[in-house]
Subunit: 275 residues, 2 copies
Amino acid sequence: VSRLSLNQITTQHWSLREAVEGCAEAGIGRIAVTREKVGEPGLSEAVRMLGDAGLEVTSLHVGGRFPAATAAERRERRDDNRRAVDEAAELGAPVLSLLAGPSPDRDLDAARGMVEDGIAELIPYAAERAVTLGIEPLHPTFAGDRSVVVTLGEANDLLDRLDSPAVGVTIDAYHVWWDPALLPQVERAAGRIAGYHVDDWPVPNDCPFLSRAMMGDGIIDLPRLTAAVDRAGYAGPIEVEIFNDEIWRQPGRRVLGLVKERYREWIEPALTAAG
Amino acid sequence: VSRLSLNQITTQHWSLREAVEGCAEAGIGRIAVTREKVGEPGLSEAVRMLGDAGLEVTSLHVGGRFPAATAAERRERRDDNRRAVDEAAELGAPVLSLLAGPSPDRDLDAARGMVEDGIAELIPYAAERAVTLGIEPLHPTFAGDRSVVVTLGEANDLLDRLDSPAVGVTIDAYHVWWDPALLPQVERAAGRIAGYHVDDWPVPNDCPFLSRAMMGDGIIDLPRLTAAVDRAGYAGPIEVEIFNDEIWRQPGRRVLGLVKERYREWIEPALTAAG
């Protein structure tokens, strides 16, 4: 399945070992790992396990969470983000996904400034270790508790100002599909797309955090978005990243089967690059 | 309480009569009514009831829902919207709130086109009856099931193209607060703001449909937004419109007391116009 990468959040109840074995069995050659799951066996054991299986690690999830009320807390985040970059380098993950983080108070502009400052400060550290930072705008439904960066346009503006090849944008269908400026902003991201995540938005979707749908089970025009990302020149891995309680409760093998099937149906036909 | 209008959605379990009596008792002189609640006693009885109480009707909620899969369905919506305009005129409501409606399929662009066509078609009918159409962009969390118009920028673009004094934009804090382009878009809306709704976004807010908070109980910078709406020259009624299961279960009198208290604390100090 060309370019498909399993973000292990999709099989949340699997350990790293189970996810690695599951990918091998399903013939999926790429995986995006989370710091939590990697931390369970420990970093060196995780590296060995992934290497033995010959799995390509496409990204590490997640750094960021820059805004904080005090300078001391912001320093703690900075240190933690450096550790995340080190972990990504050790894992051979070319990309560290960045979640902007929420605002500590009502001042979103100030929080957005802290995100920019935090990334700017992290760039040299990441660049030295050949890790690309992938800032991921989240759906505005998460603006209060997870990310003050909520549109692709906002992420592109950030990239313009940061002006560094060590930082790019991660485009996740679930987070961006609603945006009237979607296609022009995907085009504008050309050359700095650090990742592409696929999933779907179900209708109704009254509680969006844990109701992310499998590709094809929602209303996102995935072929159109995928073609736009492809036209923008992105030829990297495509991660399936699904936060969904119901999917998490299903056996991982069955989930991986469905992931492959839906990827072939909804994503692959729109791709021109083999990656 | 200058300019405060109770949107009767805030007291969802009250009949129109109870809401009218509640407003009188609380010294609130303005009310925004819903078609459902007005329909219970019937339009003429509702008009009489509101007139007897000397209540100013600030808007009628809600018309719109333009996109539909077939031309026949779109004609039905058109007819229903004309009835809504008639009702607003009969009630003496200067504004009919418009909900864009969701897309019938994955093609958001087409659905957005249907919204524009639907409003354009409704404009002469509304203008003849002196009813202003207030298009209300909803938070993108409602993009799948309630409205394809999800940003103030998108609404402003629509207004530019429709180019008619019979249509304006209704700004609701809950729907627009997250937008990095918020303040410039409020400024751009100057002269065409048809309504301003206040409420709050709680944190966390995992299920946003029925968790809208009372002003002050969330993270929206209401004084800043209110000052921006004020600077844009809006001097009309300010509606409190709260969809919240928990608030709905409280006694209406207590809710109205809290509405007044929070309005005085969070909204009124930012106003320069008496309205």
